[in-house]
Amino acid sequence: QVIAALTGFYERSNANVHRGVHTLSEEATNLAEASRRKLAAFVGAPNARTLIFTRNATESLNLVAQSWGRKFLKAGDAVLLTEMEHHSNIVPWQLLAAERGITLKFVPVEPDGTLDLGKVKELLDEQPKLFSFTAVSNAIGTVNPADELIRLGKKAGAIVSVDACQWAPHRALDLKTWGADFVSFSAHKMLGPTGIGVLWGREALLEAMDPFLGGGDMISRVTLDRSTWNELPYKFEAGTPNFADQVAFGPALDYLTAIGLDVIRAHEHALAAKARALLEAEGATVLGPKDAARRSGVVSFNIPGLHPHDVGTAFDLEGVAIRVGHHCCQPLMNKLQCGGTARASFYLYNDESDLEAFSRALKRTIEFFGLKGNKAGVR
């Protein structure tokens, strides 16, 4: 449905948005804005003008650091992150730290891949100006107690920014009640097209922030010496947006709604649980919390004696695609003392046949590298 919407748009409705007075342009604009409203309903945003479309979640997180951080943080202020953050929620803050002299602190990751709420509270007692965390780890599948973390952050007086990339496609979001100040995620992880990221922000904050990128669409009036800004959300959407993909995102949301996120979650969790059992039976190490309730459909593992890269290539040759490496979470990998992992992730489109293929590939890989009966590699 997404692909059909995209081709349909290019074939019949393609015109630049927000700019033209001609009919096609108006139609395109309406389609793009309808998508935004649909997304607002899907994630429980109080209104569509607080949903900003970016290129990807990385850009959303950079927007927070640049547009909020630059204006409201000064030298000596602290920002609290976690050791399990994706690089996109670490590097922008490091860039700001170099520029502004802010201090970065990190909630440590426990050996089982979780965050200790006691340590979170202690670090929040130091009164950081902003607390940002990932709701679900993309690297090892830990589901963090997001509601509780947001509550603790707000109680400590911090601005709270949540990386919801792995949450939004699998768990219902109700931004109104979640209580965070900023939430970032992306379309392509939730059946949508690539090139679409989302930043939701609390309206008062977004109004107070300075623009991110400057140019067309985000302005109201431009003279040679100054310009005034357009209203939300356009203030943060400079230039021609990725409007075709914005339109194509709508059907993805419809599809997810029709099936139901709870159903999807139950489905992928069942598959992930079986995958974990298979791995453990073959002597592989599965990372992340043991408790299934604290896990997502992501299964990150290591086969003792084998580097993830070799596992990935071996699986690939057996027709199974898994991701390998540090998953853009090098600090997390360092803390857990592994150079990287192999990661299988399950979603609504996976089924038992994928599990069978996974099982075959796993056994074949172990056998090939001679790890059965311990003719294991060095280290």
Binding site: H307, V324, H326, F369, G377
Partner: protein
């Protein structure tokens, strides 16, 4: 099984032997040459240390962790370069890189690099070529820093 044949092509027995061997594994101290290389994409890491004497690579060691390809290739590099004149060592690095990056024919491999023919299969996996060249790039870095 198709996958099998390809796996075997990529991970030939000789590669696995080099991966498992501990000959020339370790760290030299003191060292005349010391270089550190990483593959940011996957976390392969290698530290190369060498002692140079009378214009030759007297001793060379590699240490680190990573995939079969990166570690086996580093082991082969250490074997090929140890004992060679520095100039010859640099030529060998260039020859190996030509094999990996420019698809040079196997026949063009100097005889000191004969075991490296087992890495020929890696060329079909562009993303793994970086694994194969890591140790070689790292030792080259070491030579260049020495020259400065």
């Amino acid at each position: 099984m198709e996958g099998d044949a390809e796996l075997q092509d990529l991970y030939r027995e000789v590669l696995l032997d080099y991966f498992r061997s501990s000959t020339r594994k370790g760290r030299l101290d003191p060292a005349d040459l010391r270089a550190h290389g990483i593959n940011p994409v996957c976390g392969d890491e290698l530290e190369i240390t060498a002692q140079l004497k009378d214009g030759k690579v007297a001793k060379l060691r590699y240490a680190g962790h990573g995939c079969v390809i990166s570690q086996a290739s580093a082991a082969m590099m250490a074997e090929a370069l140890e004992g060679a004149d520095i100039a010859k060592a640099k030529d060998l690095v260039a020859a190996f890189k030509r094999l990996m990056l420019e698809n040079a024919p196997l026949a063009s491999l100097p005889e000191e690099l004969e075991p490296l023919a087992s890495l020929e299969g890696v060329r079909k996996f562009p993303l793994r070529v970086k694994c194969a060249t890591l140790g070689w790039n790292t030792v080259m870095q070491g030579f260049e820093e020495k020259a400065q």
